[in-house]
């Protein structure tokens, strides 16, 4: 035990020496006591046999640069690169995610933190900012550098200001959507070069704690990979006397049963990440691993066993988790390493996700088409409203008069529609609707569009690949499964279960549909040469003959006589007889 403490100290010293600012903070623990770092890993075995691992790293930064004139120069746990960005661009909230793959709601259920394929960025600025667009542009360029991503491709043509779908998640009650910017890059490919800068933001880097598991060769050998950074202001205490910045770094990954698990329903930390856990991050105040064992023991067995259990209502469902506290030495056992082992025993039925959406392009040909968004409400008896947000690039010219919303083959009139038409080459379409989904129904939203002809320099280098349209976003308060189950008397006293508990009665869910790949009419780019040759010829021939006809003076031509006649005429002229013609 002592050895471990010693090593912790060493690591702390090493880390501190790396960063001069941190040393000064560490020397005065009283001043820095309120900076905090927590790490957490949730492992959820999925019914399909795949396994879902979700990392969350939470750094609290006890500073309040909302106040004017306060200069921030001390960074202890919070990464300096992000802190400077926050203060420079007057950011109130920042959410950025990089996702490779598509979350399969129907097989995997709801994710803890949803994200669309590609890159997504949404930012709330302070209401003191005068030039939001300018700040936004600069911010995207800076973030592009920090995360090694092509966020600099975000410009006004793919930025929207949603009026209702994206509310601030932190403190403050900002509702003026002029200070919100939202953009997605569906084509963004996420790989190791994005993971490395993301890992560098962690206080322990990838040297200690849960982050040692983040080995890129395993993380990218998966069905789904998503990493995100969320920054928001939060309360430091219950009375909210002081505020703090919260940096939440999340990484979600789903390992595939067949390609990563060799078809065996047997998972271990080593098999997933090719590492085991040996220690917590020394800077962390809490470091825990949760394993979802709600379906235990019917579905799988877990070893080593842990006495710690935790119950929580997560995404509307009451779940039980085994907790492994990494800050306690006994967690690691005799071998001084923790390698969780999960072995499936049978198959279980998954609860159908209550909300689910998909999207596709209907029709064929390169002139028109129709975007279909299908939203499923799988709740057996509760209707609930959802907010649908669609951002469509300007080169798909939406015919908004063809917008139809049908549920159960009946017209379903949205109670709120916010539509901002596109401006060619300047801004995309934005469509937000509040739709009431009847219970156990499929709601279909269709809108027709026409494909625009681009200017020839506007085509991408691979125009025949097609053009992406970002995911549409469905946000909803979904009635909870816990509240649905009125016959739930297992562990609860009767007096507590008659009226559904308010905060558990519904939960917030955001569902992203798949992005679309649309082919636009594409010219044959080798054609200009042929066209130039052809038009030059046609112009030369046509113009030449027209010009000839127009400028020539026509006169009656005296037919020239044959030589014999001319000779004869010469003689006749001499003789004075009329000439021959």
């Amino acid at each position: 035990c002592e050895i471990k403490q010693l090593s912790d100290c060493l690591i702390r010293l090493l880390l501190d020496r790396r960063d001069g600012t941190r040393t000064s903070e560490a020397l005065t623990p009283a001043a820095a006591a309120r900076d905090e770092f927590q790490e957490e890993l949730v492992i959820r075995p999925l019914h399909s046999g795949d396994i879902y691992a979700s990392f969350q790293f939470r750094t609290l930064w006890d500073t309040d640069f909302l106040q004017e004139g306060q200069k921030v120069s001390h960074y202890r746990l919070f990464p300096k690169s992000l802190g400077q960005v926050l203060s420079k661009f007057s950011v109130r909230e920042l959410h950025i995610s990089f996702t490779q793959g598509f979350w399969r709601t129907m097989q995997w259920g709801q994710p803890f933190i949803p994200s669309p394929p590609g890159a997504e960025l949404w930012v709330w600025f302070h209401d003191t900012v005068s030039d939001v667009d300018g700040n936004w542009k600069e911010l995207t360029n800076v973030l592009s550098g920090i995360f090694c991503a092509s966020l600099n491709f975000i410009d006004l043509t793919n930025t929207v200001q949603p009026s209702a779908s994206f509310k601030p998640l932190g403190l403050g009650n900002a509702t003026d959507h002029r200070f919100l910017r939202y953009a997605t890059l569906p084509r963004e490919i996420v790989c190791t070069e994005n993971l490395t800068p993301w890992k560098k933001l962690l206080p322990c880097g990838s040297k200690a704690g849960l982050a040692v598991l983040l080995k890129s060769e395993k993380l990218f050998h998966s069905s789904f990979h998503s990493q995100a950074v969320h920054i928001r202001p939060v309360c430091q205490d219950e009375q909210c006397t002081s505020k703090a910045w919260e940096l939440r770094q999340t990484l979600n990954v789903v390992f595939d049963l067949y390609t990563a698990g060799q078809g065996k329903k047997e998972w271990s930390l080593f098999k997933m990440f090719s590492r085991t856990l040996t220690e917590a991050c020394p800077l962390a105040t809490s470091s825990k691993v949760y394993v979802d064992i709600t379906d235990n023991p019917e579905l799988f067995e877990l070893s080593p066993a842990t006495p710690l259990l935790s119950q929580a209502v997560v995404l509307g469902d009451r779940r039980t988790y085994s907790v492994y506290d990494l800050s306690r030495a006994e967690t690691f056992g005799q071998l001084r390493s923790l390698n969780l082992l999960l072995r499936w025993k049978g198959d279980g039925e998954m609860l159908r996700p209550l909300l689910h959406a998909e999207r596709y392009v209907a029709g064929f040909g390169l002139q028109t088409g129709e975007i279909h968004t299908v939203i499923y409400n799988n709740h057996p008896y509760r209707a609930f409203p959802v907010l649908l947000m669609d951002s469509v690039p300007w080169y798909l010219q939406l015919y908004i008069h063809t917008l139809t919303v049908t549920s159960k083959s009946r017209d379903n009139k949205p109670s709120y529609i916010h539509y901002q038409p596109a401006k060619d080459r300047h801004r995309p379409h934005l469509l937000e609707m509040l739709i009431q989904l009847p219970p156990h129904s499929m709601t279909e939203v269709t809108v027709q569009f026409e494909r625009a002809l681009l200017k020839w320099t506007e085509y991408t280098p691979d125009p025949n690949h097609g053009f992406y349209v970002g995911s549409s976003v469905v946000s909803a308060l979904v009635p909870s499964m816990v509240a649905m189950n009125t016959n739930f008397t297992q562990d609860q006293p009767l007096f507590s279960s008659f009226v559904p508990v308010k905060e558990e009665s519904s939960y917030f869910v955001r569902v992203y549909t798949e992005p679309l790949l649309v082919n636009l009419p594409t010219p044959d780019f080798s054609m200009p040469y042929n066209v130039i040759c052809l038009t030059c010829t046609v112009v030369a021939v046509g113009y030449g003959s027209f010009y000839n006809l127009l400028t020539r003076t026509f006169q009656v031509d005296e037919p020239s006589l044959p030589l014999a006649k001319r000779l004869a005429n010469l003689i006749r002229r001499i003789r004075g007889v009329p000439l021959l013609t």
Partner: protein, 558 residues
């Protein structure tokens, strides 16, 4: 460009054209024919090559090895098919699910306009089963399709089984960038049509189908697989699709490249490639192959399940296993590897197939004739029309010029007024419309009054209306011309095509068999139009036939 602006030279040119019109036309015609037939001569054609860089020749290592398992699976599938008396939907769903695919079904029904006697069906009801292999870390934007029709009897079991074996093998691989859809469709083309319409949410042909539950973005390419025996001797590539559409040539190149790599005998139009191009037999062989392709394209029907994909801008081809009892045999593993290689190459695609040609003729799999080579032949034939028209125009203009000279000649023979022209035009076209509409609509009446089946009723009505059109004129003095006209009429052209086709596929038929084939060709043409939207029947009925009728009418002009 003094030629047009100088009246003298212009006169000389028109003089030349009118004087030598007939010889020039004959020369053009012969040159066109010779040019076209010359295209089959190997030195005049280009060697095929892979244009698409992403599918460069042999970067893929094939490792599929469960061909034997596929064959035993085929027996199992056969047993279940017999038990279910059709498509064993439940078994297929389970089989696909156990291989880790997302499985969906689609049921469809279609009432044919009249019974199809070739395939013995009228009220068609069926189910398509498809499984989607989701590519890891891909956002469901692109997909490839492999389809195998589930046909009645014990045909095509091996194709379905190989499909399942491939699915199992593919599922364990990490390198997929596009989702792969494994589709088993019932009632061949009708099933494919229902699936495609469902996938794209269109309804072109009045099919009734249940909406699809699972999709995988825009489909980049499709392969249809037809195998009916455990061991095959050669693979045939079928490219001709609906309305003569062809997939990008790179798809054929891909198939050919893998056949070469794996040492599989490959054919096109069922004809093996020959090396003796400099002999007469070699040339005839290539010419036959090319003519077959022309004929198949001209008839406008889809020659395999792939044909319907082409309308949706999806490059597709059918691969058909043929067992012709040669001693050179290929086993299921090799075919699996061939498909694996092709699908992996298609998976590497960054853009839709667009680099290579879309209009081409293939005298063999390794040689192609691009549109730039065959269009001159067509141009030479088409220029005859222009020349004749010019000739007529000059002749029409000549007496008018004479009248300008001021000498009032005898009253011109009164040219027929517009109305006299209008009547035959309208009547001809109305006959065309009748030919297009009546056969299908009048079948019930015909069946009531005559002792024929519905199919016969439709075909015979069509022939009756067609012949009735000939009754328009009343002057029958030019019998020889009339006979020639009839022999050159659209219907006779179809009849010749039937015989030529049978001759080309080396299955010559007698006259009576040919007649029966002719009748079934008519009914198939009408059915193809109603079921899949093939354009040949309306083209013939509404355009070519009325034009021909007008000629017929002019022939008997008083």
């Amino acid at each position: 460009m003094g030629l047009l602006s100088d009246p003298n030279r212009r006169k000389a040119l028109t003089g030349l054209l009118t004087r030598l019109n007939t010889p020039i036309c004959i020369v053009c015609y012969l040159a066109g024919i010779v040019w076209f037939m010359g295209l089959a001569f190997e030195p005049f054609t280009l060697r095929t090559y892979m244009s698409e860089n992403a599918m460069g020749s042999t970067m893929v290592e094939e490792r599929f090895s469960s061909g034997e398992r596929a064959l035993s699976l085929a027996k199992e599938f056969d047993a279940h098919k017999r038990k279910a008396g059709g498509m064993p939907v439940e078994w297929l769903v389970k089989a696909m699910q156990s291989r880790g695919l997302e499985v969906f079904t689609q049921s469809f029904s279609r009432k044919l306009p009249f019974p199809d006697e070739n395939k013995e069906r009228y009220m068609v009801r069926g189910t398509n089963v498809y499984g989607i292999l989701r590519a890891p870390r891909a956002p469901r934007t692109e997909a490839l399709v492999i389809t195998a029709p589930c046909s009645p009897g014990n045909t095509n079991n091996q194709a379905v089984a190989l499909l399942l074996a491939l699915a199992q093998y593919f599922r364990n691989q990490i390198y997929w960038a596009k989702d792969i859809i494994f589709l088993v469709n019932e009632h061949d083309l009708i099933g494919t049509q229902a699936w495609l319409e469902g996938y794209h949410h269109t309804n072109i042909t009045g099919m009734e189908y249940s909406p699809l539950q699972g999709r995988a973005g825009s489909i980049q390419a499709a392969l249809s697989l037809e195998l009916s025996s455990d061991v095959i001797t050669s693979l045939d590539l079928v490219l001709e699709g609906l309305n003569g559409q062809l997939p990008n040539l790179d798809l054929a190149n891909l198939f050919y490249a893998f056949c070469q790599k794996l040492g599989v005998l490959c054919t096109i139009q069922g004809k093996l490639q020959r090396n003796d191009w400099d002999t007469a037999e070699g040339y005839t062989h290539a010419a036959q192959t090319m003519m077959l392709m022309v004929l198949k394209q001209a008839c406008g029907r889809s020659w395999g399940d792939h044909g319907l994909f082409l309308r949706y801008h999806i490059e597709a081809a059918s691969v058909r296993g043929i067992n012709s009892f040669r001693h050179y045999k290929t086993d299921a593993t090799t075919i699996g590897r061939l498909l694996e290689g092709m699908v992996r190459k298609l998976n590497n695609l960054l853009e839709r197939l667009h680099q290579s040609y879309f209009f081409y003729l293939l005298p063999s799999l390794s040689r192609f004739v691009s549109i730039g080579y065959y269009m001159p032949a067509f141009g030479l034939l088409a220029v005859i029309l222009l020349l004749r028209a010019l000739d007529l125009w000059v002749h029409l203009g000549a007496p008018a010029l004479a009248a300008v000279d001021g000498v009032t000649e005898a009253e011109q023979p009164s040219s027929p007024g517009v109305l006299t022209v209008l009547t035959p035009v309208v009547i001809s076209h109305l006959t065309g419309v009748a030919l297009y509409l009546l056969p299908v609509h009048l079948q019930e009446m015909a069946v009531e009054h005559f002792p024929v089946s519905e199919t016969e009723a439709v075909v015979l009505t069509a022939i009756a209306i067609y012949t009735a059109g000939l009754a328009l004129p009343h002057n029958t003095q030019r019998a020889l011309y009339a006979v020639v006209m009839v022999l050159l009429s659209p219907a006779f052209t179809i009849l010749y095509c039937v015989f030529i086709y049978q001759e080309l596929i080396e299955a010559p038929v007698s006259v009576s068999e040919g007649w029966m084939l002719f009748l079934s060709v008519i009914s198939q043409g009408i059915l193809d139009h109603a079921l899949y939207g093939s354009l040949v029947y309306p083209l013939l009925a509404l355009f070519i036939y009325p034009c021909w009728l007008m000629f017929w009418n002019i022939l008997f002009w008083n």
